[in-house]
Symmetry: C2
Subunit: 353 residues, 2 copies
Amino acid sequence: MSFGNITQHAGEWLRGQGPQSDIVISSRIRLARNLAGFSFVNRADVVEQRDVLDRCRREITDRLPDGEVIWVDLNQSTPLDRQILVERHLISNQHAKSKAELPRAVAIGADETFAIMVNEEDHLRIQVLRSGMQLAEAFEQINRMDDTLGQHLNYAFSKKLGYLTACPTNVGTGIRVSVMLHLPALKLTGEIEKVKRAAKDLHLAVRGLFGEGSDALGDFYQISNQVTLGRTELEILADFQHSIVPQIIAYEQQARAALLRDRPAQLDDRIWRAWGTLTNARQLGTEEVLTLLSHLRLGINMGRIDKTDVATLNQMLLLSQPAHLQRLCGKEMDQAERRQARATLMRQKLGFA
Amino acid sequence: MSFGNITQHAGEWLRGQGPQSDIVISSRIRLARNLAGFSFVNRADVVEQRDVLDRCRREITDRLPDGEVIWVDLNQSTPLDRQILVERHLISNQHAKSKAELPRAVAIGADETFAIMVNEEDHLRIQVLRSGMQLAEAFEQINRMDDTLGQHLNYAFSKKLGYLTACPTNVGTGIRVSVMLHLPALKLTGEIEKVKRAAKDLHLAVRGLFGEGSDALGDFYQISNQVTLGRTELEILADFQHSIVPQIIAYEQQARAALLRDRPAQLDDRIWRAWGTLTNARQLGTEEVLTLLSHLRLGINMGRIDKTDVATLNQMLLLSQPAHLQRLCGKEMDQAERRQARATLMRQKLGFA
């Protein structure tokens, strides 16, 4: 794996562009697929796991255009490299931390718009990630990839159930559609709880920055479908595009307008304090940075501060994560060292060091 | 009362000069005196209270040099003016807030080194306040004033008990010696609790910025004697000058050295965060300002930051108090308005607005 300059660019999910990128950080679709005639990953022995991995690698590297895909054998990479992939949303935490003997890999698009995890929970987890609100584009891209791979890999499929998956919650379409939203105003006004309840009624999952089990750090909320059975991919997608996401965007915009109307001083106070702390602190933890960057992002998007831009914040967000920070500094660091290095980096990026 | 330019200077107690002023903010001595043949204030009716007030005014304004003393009838001043005197440590909170019909006043030295409260708890409360560690100078000054007034006002005195006072805790010498110390390092390291216990064993009172009942806001601690009976003024004074204050100063200096040696990043983080917040916040409460100024004061005194100076901090400390702030802005303001005005003022004083 060559990550020579990986700390120099933010990847696709934090590119900060695309439609409605002031609220929609990224759009993501993933498909769960398994090979017919092989046990699911958690039931297979190492020989069978290795066989699946080899078949998948062959097809993926053969069928996807040359130079577009980077193959990473995760067993042979360092924990730090794996953590970098997690921080870039290219592999799951589970995939990074599986037991050492499980043969597993990820195929990454050179532009980081796609990643195919091999031998995670399913034989294949195909993900397409696009900056901003680009679910249609993501769907088109993942369909193409799925069709190409499906022609050469014999997918486990039941006429009655659809695609078969290791966990029953993925059976059927095997699709998960999600958007990462930045909802600081709904958080500040407390109305985020209403959104969460509404999402629950619609059988949507609301998660944090790093998916399952992670908190809504930095006011980032990942909204995704939970039901994969009995509805077509297009129905699920249409719900997101035409109903769910536009509604939440409208709520967030209303909350921002209300903040500006009812308590502008409190709003500005939060934004400028974040600026003051990021440009002056000598020790910073990951969680605090996420919170401060969130306030600053809100300030920039609302035109309340013009000292920096969203692209810089995105870079700061990514590089302040533990693995990226250590890669950037070129050495392993304990938590105290990271807190200092992180504070120095924040000041540098904002022109204060 | 003319307070035309009172917001332009910090008064004596915050002048920020004098020996050891990096730790000793101010030295204060006060004497409790009553006139023989008159009831104590709380036992007298208004006629008698008025009589005492008139006698005291005559002697004070006659005997103390012309142009050096400002007489303020507190019944005729506004609550805001009285609060300004409290914030300048020239009258007590109790004196500011007595019931309206009690005839009471304060005579203030034009340089604010002395203040004589008339009809507070005792007929006379004579206070001398000096910036830095100047107990000897304060004692000399208050002795002179006490002698002058005592020649013309017949003090209530018992050969057995000494000076008679309304509260038995003041009987005897009627003296209270106190120093206002800035002890941020002892607070940060938690060792302040040891100092407090030691002070208690020595029958010393440890109070906050505004005396009785106030918290140790901004890491300011007022240390004063509690025993006035059975010891001479000189013994009490010598204890403070040669034992108590030097010891606490040494402890604070050791704590500062330990912070610098053991956790310089944490120390700098606190200092620079204070700077970042003071130069950027849009809303600030009194208590938060005191805390932030305390960290900044520590940073300046330890040479960790050179963006401003102690004189500026002292001015900020005084002017951020509610009454001074309103006087400075030339209007009455509610709490929310004050929080904004205070933040603006802080930024102005630090060159950020």
